[in-house]
Amino acid sequence: MAIEQRTHEEIREAALRPLGPPGKRFWLLLGLLSLPVGWGVVAYAFQLTRGLGVTSLNDQVFWGTYEATLVTFIGFSYGGAVVSAILRLTHAQWRAPITRMAEATALVTLLIGSSFAIVHLGHPERLWRLFVSPRISSPIVWDVVAINTYLLATIIFLYLPLIPDLAVVRDRAAGHVSRWQRALAGRLSLGWRGLPEQRQQLEWGLTVMSILIIPLAVMVHSVLSWAFAVTTRSGWHSTIFGPYFVVAALFSGVATVILVVAAFRKAYHLEAFVGEKQIKYLSFIMLTLGLLYLYFTFSEFLTEGYPMTEETTPVLEALLLDRYAPLFWFWLIGTGFLPIALVAIPHTRTVPGIVLAASLVVGGMWLKRFLIVVPPLVLPLVEGGPWASYRPSWVEASIITAAAAAVPLLLLLFFRVFPILSIHEMEEVSTVPEETLPEPTTPFRFS
């Protein structure tokens, strides 16, 4: 049965399902995910007391997996911006059941990703200096401004459509949800009654945020790329780095949303609301962005490599033929071609096939960021110098594993408190009228 034919009560029941008393599997999963996260906290405490000497970083490879993780996880958050903002602006109604999951994923991955800006510092306790006496010409200061603005926008964008949904939780009969959940929802729903003027204001706020969040997202990954691109290092100093990073973020962000949607759809039996259609449509977006990313990569390497200058050739050689060639070709096949093929071929375009493709993209795009950060540093800038080497230490590996585990962990906890489906948006597109709803104007439809 299509989502459009579901009654409002059915939607509400499904959206609030994770709010009910958790089962054994919830606690088991929570415990399993807490282990690596806890271990990561221990590793970070170890790094704080001993200093960055516990990493494998050195004076030549002074940036490594932390910076790769920072860029990758902030990139994951772009899925939220695409699905919710772009699809909202284009009135693609199929988005309704997945917007909440996409936006929650955006917040969670953004929080985890940006925390690596602190993890990689030699003196995190001096962070306040960035706010009190910033030097405006520094790309790090641009990062601070961009990330914090984007974080604020992401929170607002997640919160606005939650207001009517929280009112549903608030008004839910006892027994369905527990008292603390209702009390919290009461506070956060800001007296939502579903009045026409409230709906109008919400609609206005969401439209404004949808428009705002797109340039903000573009800005964040652009300035992240410029921290590399404004140096004179070969492999980093590139004019296309801004858009190249933005496309990478969108590509991996959509893949992240696919994984989250597929996982929670299965875990909470939401198949009747989140159909295969949603996952397939997302995979088409991922396919398009993947092709775009491949094009950017080709364009970057061709223009860098063709003149075969003394500066660029060694970096490209290391990447394509030498030390990093196995990783690079693994990435190109595993993240560039394979996921695109899985989505393009109708036979493999099934939920398991798409989930496999998205997993390859999510993992592979971390690897790609590693290949962007590290190889240019391994080569000495003074010709006579030795090549450096870098292989992450157990501390780095532990902290990054914790970051990966923290995403599902925080999402599980988030959906214990907030509805997993956007009730308000789903009811708006639902064709079974239980109350008179203002018909959204749809000049253009995806579905």
């Binding site: 001993r50 200093g51 960055l52 000497g53 990493t55 970083l57 050195n58 004076d59 030549q60 002074f62 940036w63 990689h120 510092l121 030699g122 003196h123 995190p124 001096r126 962070l127 200096r129 960035l130 006496s133 910033p134 030097r135 010409s137 520094s138 790309p139 790090i140 200061v141 601070v144 921290a227 590399f228 404004v230 140096t231 004179t232 290092r233 980093w236 000495p380 800038l381 003074v382 010709e383 006579g384 110098g385």
Partner: protein
């Protein structure tokens, strides 16, 4: 007098009264804070005077590659004097190859770029230029983000990954001009031993070079010395066709190289 101008006049009076009232408050306030302001002003003046005094010298270094035999004693002198860990070579000797395949040695210091890429990218202004043209790092300010290391085209910056070796107290540091001992989690680099040059002493590497290949000089006085001979800087550079290393990057280094392959050392 028309009504309009009268009104204007009264307005004026009112504002004048208000102004006087305001001025009175300001006068009382400044009388109370008077000594404080004067103190601050005189401090600022003293600071500016010191800066102007320091700016009368602009330090440069000249490396005569004809004399360098790559012995590495400059590195040892620097590391010993600054209590550096082994992997930090603020002056580092690279083995290079000429186009025709002969090896030569090139000591690399911090170039103290006039247009310093490392300085622009520091987010907290921990890296700054002293009035006498030396790029220093305030290790009390540095947050350890290492973007200066990314920006430096000469690999001349080093991070204190671990605690630096212990250094005796009473050397006059740590301060940006003499970062001894260094702080863990911050960036360190060659500072031309500006604490020495300001007192008329040689940088440690210059004093430690047995081949007399390193010169320290002052652009303003137009003089340079390797500890034994004194040369007129501009003529010395011109006569020997001195060059910058990677000058094409627009960094405008304060280190000059006289090209060669240790031939003076061989003979």
């Amino acid at each position: 007098m028309s009504k309009d101008t009268r009104d204007k006049g009264s307005n004026l009076q009112l504002s004048r009264r208000r102004f006087l009232k305001g001025a009175g408050i300001t006068a009382v306030a400044s009388a109370m804070a008077g000594s404080g302001i004067l103190k601050l002003l005189s401090q600022a003046e003293a600071h500016e005077e010191l800066d102007n005094e320091l700016a009368k010298r602009q330090w440069v270094m000249v490396v005569d590659l004809r004399r360098c035999d790559g012995c590495g004693l400059c590195v040892k002198a620097c590391q010993k004097g600054h209590f550096l860990p082994e992997e930090q070579e603020w002056i580092k000797v690279y083995e290079m190859e000429t186009t025709t395949g002969r090896t030569y040695y090139m000591p690399r210091l911090c170039m103290q770029c006039e247009n310093a890429p490392c300085l622009r990218v520091c987010p907290v202004s921990a890296t700054y230029k002293t009035p006498d043209g030396v790029i220093v790092v305030d290790q009390n300010r540095c947050i350890g983000c290492r973007i200066c290391m990314a920006a430096c085209p000469y690999d001349a910056r080093y991070f204190n990954w671990n605690d630096p070796p212990p250094a005796p107290v009473g050397l006059g540091g740590p301060r940006p001009e003499l970062p001894v001992p260094q702080q863990k989690g911050t960036v360190g680099k060659c500072v031309f031993c500006v604490h020495n040059t300001r007192e008329g002493k040689l940088p440690m590497c210059v004093a430690g070079c047995p081949m007399l290949a390193l010169y320290v000089g002052d652009l303003k006085a137009d003089l340079a010395t390797n500890g034994v001979e004194i040369v007129k800087l501009s003529m010395f550079l011109k006569d020997n066709d001195a060059v910058h290393y990677k000058g094409e990057l627009g960094t405008r280094p304060r280190v000059y190289y006289i090209m060669g392959r240790g031939q003076t050392a061989e003979s």
